[in-house]
């Protein structure tokens, strides 16, 4: 899969895109042969045409940029606070016994269900969407950070303590690397939840004008199925790319970290 040679990469990209090509062709054929109506299901060529006009007019870029801006702020906050709270819960037994059950109940609440509360308390604009993005990522990251640190080998920890490592150094050089696999799981889950919360939040917040979720939602008022389908494809591919790009990058980081640990 992650072969380093360019040919293997090119081959896997072609293999990845092939099914989309086949489905697209069958779909186009079905529409051209009038097996389904154009209003219900516009053909891929119409969708691609729409994609082209919206791209050259800059509309699509504007939507994507506002979405990514909200995602970046909300997600970075979720990562920062999630890791801090997760570490705090893992390192203080009392805190964990007090808050872990509440946390596991709050995780089960669909992030989108917080949106009505946020709309009431924070208004109908950007702040609501960004907070939803934050909440989406925060719980998953907190929970997995906590679990990861809990599972760190106690002997390893004691050894580090005996050698005089404590405080910030203990955290950065021992705890974090040892719990990294679980933390990264949290980060991956978190970006998925944040992405979904972003799209949902944009759709439901009335004063938000731009954003990829808003684009799909607004298409409803003109029954513009082509824009809806295009938006869904973009949402899917972006979510996939975020996961792949972030995951790949983090994997490389972990591999490097592991290598460093082995060398020592």
């Amino acid at each position: 899969m992650n072969g380093d040679s360019g040919r293997a990469a090119a081959k896997s990209i072609v293999e990845f895109l092939f099914p989309f090509l086949v489905v697209g062709l069958l779909w186009e054929l079905a529409v051209r042969l009038h097996l389904v109506g154009m209003e219900m299901l516009p053909s891929p060529s119409v969708i691609v045409g729409k994609l082209w006009t919206l791209t050259i007019r800059g509309v699509l870029l504007h939507h994507l940029a506002s979405s990514l801006y909200r995602l970046a702020i909300g997600y970075v906050l979720a990562v920062g606070l999630g890791i801090i709270v997760g570490v705090a819960l893992a390192s203080r037994r009392l805190l964990r016994e007090m808050f872990a059950p509440v946390l596991s109940m709050l995780i089960s609440v669909p992030t989108i269900a917080w949106v009505p509360v946020l709309l009431i308390t924070m208004g109908l604009g950007d702040r609501t969407v960004i907070t939803a993005v934050f909440l989406g990522g925060f719980f998953a990251i907190t929970y997995n950070t906590m679990r990861g640190i809990e599972m760190v080998n106690q002997g390893q920890l004691n050894a580090a303590r005996i050698m005089g490592v404590s405080g910030w150094r203990l955290f950065v050089e021992v705890l974090l690397p040892a719990s990294l696999v679980s933390v990264i799981t949290g980060l991956r889950l978190g970006i998925g939840y944040s992405w979904r919360a972003l799209v949902g939040g944009e759709m439901l917040s009335a004063l938000v004008e731009w954003g990829i979720g808003k684009m799909v939602y607004q298409a409803r008022f003109w029954n513009d199925v082509a824009v809806m389908l295009m938006g869904l494809l973009i949402i899917g591919f972006s979510g996939f790319l975020l996961d792949r790009v972030l995951l790949k990058w983090l994997e490389r980081e972990t591999v490097e970290k592991w290598g460093m640990l082995a060398k020592r």
């Binding site: 308390t121 409803r220 029954n223």
Partner: protein
Amino acid sequence: MGVSWRKHKSSRATGSRWWLPALPVALFLAGWQLLAGVNLINPSLFPPPTEIASELAELYTSGLPTRSLLIGHVTATLSRLLVASVIGILSGTLAGALMGISSRLYRFFDPLITVLMPVPGIAMAPLFIVWLGFGDPTIIALGSIAAFFPLAYNTAAGVRSIDPQLVRAARMMEAGKGTLLFDVYLPWAAGYVLVGVKLGLARCWRTIIAVEFIAAASWGLGYMIWDAAEYLRAGVVYGGIFLLIIIYFVIEKGLVNTLEKFTVERWGMVQR
């Protein structure tokens, strides 16, 4: 064995210091009640817990002789969840099993699933409203799709992990295609399928609540919460979210327990 360990630990923790997790919740609620009572936080945005409770009670009693409003919303959502998750789980397991058996099918459908999976159900709602209209058909269709993906994905992964010796042995004993699928592949993948069921159910639940926000005709917990938010009835919004927490907690605990029994039974069967 992992399961028994977890049970043991949690029962010990709740046995001796059960009040610890209740403490912050109680303090939080008491503080909220107090602050809202003296108007330090806006009680129309953050109605005190007692008012939330009385709003819920009022929703329960309204229309009671014939049909309680609250019960109506809850049953609407739960029946959608039941239908959608059954459709999604069955079709997802079947698709996953086929993808697991044939690597050609896997290579074809895997990219499609990876791209469609991160699309939230609520984003598909406008499309499905155009296709199927407001109400049950749209909500159930999107709930089924939400449950479908984790099952297809996990079942395929489980079936692909099968020991080829087993398949060869079954083939030698002249097992037909159906026998092979239901008696060899699926039992092997049962653990994966169960994980898929848990994930699928959670996704189905989330999607149904979210889609009810914008596509429900007039019933459902999601509709109830959304409608209350539009009319700034904060008490009903908080009460609704509280109900969401409780209901899903019950579903998950009930489901996990039955699933555990199911796996233990499977184990027994295998050993016998």
